[in-house]
Subunit: 182 residues, 2 copies
């Protein structure tokens, strides 16, 4: 594995979206992806649901499986970012430990806390998961019977119950520009 | 996932080394990696042993586990290659089916058959695996009690019992230049 790649044309980075299910991580990541593609940037989005098809199909939602899941995603994000790709990772990633590991592993790690009150996420309940979790049909559901450890000092905090998707995207784009990552 | 990335600075490709254990896949891939880094190319090497640490630690050598292993590696190679990276994959990858899937999934797939007679690989036995396989201590070992399906029309065939590492590397470099991939 090439750990001393010095031929990178563009700086890569990892924009890591963390937050409760239904907070809006994927929605914002998708909108940001479209915006960056329009600007002809090299971008890859690693999303819980998509990645599960190829990379982590064997894994469930137990604590141990989440560990492995995040570990694999971090590995892939690292490879892409060090080759100049803007990597958008959207995972609940409820444990601080995992996000800190990812931060240490990759260059230009940008933690984005997609912050939305549990009540609002549960009200939205896009995938019907909260209902199932409340009914006890699924276990270890973040926010219900598994903790969400909110970031203390994220690079960005987006209040999706107060701001529009476009506003959130602009905030991230502004940050990336300020840091000369785009 | 961005499937219509049209902002690629360089063409990426996947150089896929297949062959028996001990044939010289990793040795050649490492030498090629160094050569490409010297030329300031963006290169990543995905090697069985290294990838197992991060991506596929849960997997053994059963047929099913090999399937999953190759599937994950193909996914990562695809993401890297479509972002302009020269990806060097060295895996025994004994089944034609897997290599054909990889070929369909990625752009610019270059199958390199690292061809060395079983007797010579077994004589080398760098990791002592053949000895263990012959003693029945490990099962499903390619070439011993699991088949190696040799490529019929690989882009390149390297006879490592006849050619030096440098000669093999030059042959690949020549091919990549001819195809305008470097």
């Amino acid at each position: 594995m090439n750990t001393y790649n010095n031929s990178i044309a563009n700086k890569g980075c990892v924009v890591w979206f963390t937050g409760l299910s239904g907070a809006g991580k994927t929605t914002i990541a998708q909108a940001l992806e479209q915006r960056l593609i329009k600007d002809k940037k090299q971008v890859e989005r690693l999303d819980g649901d998509v990645v599960r098809q190829s990379l982590t199909r064997d894994l469930g939602f137990s604590k141990e499986d989440r560990d492995t899941n995040i570990e694999r995603v971090t590995f892939v994000a690292k490879l892409l970012a060090r080759n100049g790709v803007l990597v958008l990772v959207s995972f609940i990633s409820p444990y601080k430990k995992h996000r800190e590991t990812a931060r240490m592993e990759v260059d230009n790690f940008i933690e984005v806390h997609v912050n939305c009150p549990l009540e609002e996420c549960e009200r939205r309940d896009v995938k019907g998961m909260y209902k199932k979790a409340r009914a006890g049909e699924i276990q270890n559901f973040t926010g219900i019977d598994d903790p969400y450890e909110a970031p203390e000092c994220p690079e960005l905090e987006l209040m999706t119950h107060k701001c529009s998707v476009d506003e959130c995207v602009e905030e991230i784009v502004g940050y990336l520009q300020k840091k000369k990552l785009i």
